[in-house]
Amino acid sequence: MDSVALAVLVGVVVALLFWLVRARRRGGAAEARPLGAGDRLPSEADEFLAAVDRNLGLHSEARAEVHAELADHLRDSIEAIEAEGLDRDRATREALARLGRPEELARQLREAHHTTRRLLAGAAGGVFQTGFGFVGGWFIGTVLVMLGLLAGTVLLNGLLKPVVDFLAAHLPSVSTDADDLATNSAYAGLAVCVAVFTAARQGVRAFSRYSQRPVRSVAPWWALTGALALAYLVLFVVTANQSWLTVLIELAIPVSFAAGALVKGKAGFRIPWARLGVAAMALTLIAVPALLIASSVSGAGQMSGGWSIDGLMRDYDRVAPQWEANTPAMETGGGGGCCYGIVFEDVGLDAAYVAQFHDIRFEAWRAVPWSGAPDWAEQYTVDPAFSGPYATAPANIAGSLTSQLDLRHTRTTRWLIFLTGIGPDGHRYRLIGPDQARSVFSGTVWDWLTAGS
């Protein structure tokens, strides 16, 4: 019996609710009171406002404000006309007729908003906000690059080490050397990519807001202008250490700006500091032990194994034969210094020895890693692809032999520097050397693209 009573009770409650809802709907439909503030507008008025909205061509905030203002006007107008004795439908039609065609009203409102002053304010605000966005984006980009480095180090030296070793063994021509890749420029370039993305995103929205133009109409121009300006700067103006990696990243900068301007989404952008912090801590906790383990394992047999330099010395004869088996002792020491491509040579040799030669010069030869030595030994040999030196510089003979070679404008990064001179028999000989040197290409992206090896 209890279950039957419960079923009846539920049935009665449901029926009562159904009746109440229907009665409320009937009552609502039958009621004909004046249209008050906040009431829904008749559907004709909604359609009119939607047509105005579609044709306005204003920033979203301005569009919403115009919509609300015209809706209020229509409520007031319909209420006033109803008070004169017309019914709701006729009052609505009359109120709408007084505002004219929605397309024409939208056009006039758009022209009223699109003043030159607001356009200039939009441009100024956009540029200003772009600057702010760049600074904020630079910080975000730097943090992201650091996190990426941590993650990459953990992956490459830990989990993916077998894969990396396999690729290194089978793709010997692909250099992963940090100097060859100009990694510092690459990291900075990545941070700039993030910075210009954020800058464009904030700039285009500020331009839209201040100029009262919709984002979709200003974004393409903002993207095109910014991308062209950045492309010019990146290609022809900004000088940096270059590699194919950095060139790719630098060419991505204008693309990143255009993407930032054109990407859809909310105007606001909050930096997720808390998440970035947690991610950094987590990566650090994983990275430190992983790197310690990796270095202890990989370092165990690294420096072991013998190798001879004899074969390497024979390669140097391609430059010129050695004058004598034993070069006399240097008076003031010797060698050179290399600061990313500017090689300073300062060799002290016995004056009587030097006097046997003329046309004494330093020669910079392109070099490649010598396969006869393990990687850690970093021994170079003369690049067999070239039959002559890349650059030569006459030695200044004033106490010691000095000279300077600028090697920053070629894609080659490994060098052997020889001192040569023409002997009494009229042939050129190697007098001393070589010094090994490294260089990094320095210039613009255009310089890199048009440079030779």
């Binding site: 203002e69 015209l70 209020d72 006007h73 004219g100 006039q108 409102l109």
Partner: protein
Amino acid sequence: MASIDRASRERLLAAIGDDRLSGFEALGRLETPPLPPEGPSAEASLYPALHRLEADGQLEAAWLPNASGTVRRRYGRRRR
């Protein structure tokens, strides 16, 4: 056209006076159409004119209640 002639601008500014009025309230104070009607009625050019005066800095607008508490976008002369 959204640009308005000097006489129309003066009439609209005079109708608003020192008060803060919505477009509908300002319309009620105008004895003659505020602007040369370009649409079916003067109301069609009222809001473009108000927005132009606001853009030019002669009027300022804010969402304000009247004495009965009804909130409307109301225009007043810009205080310099």
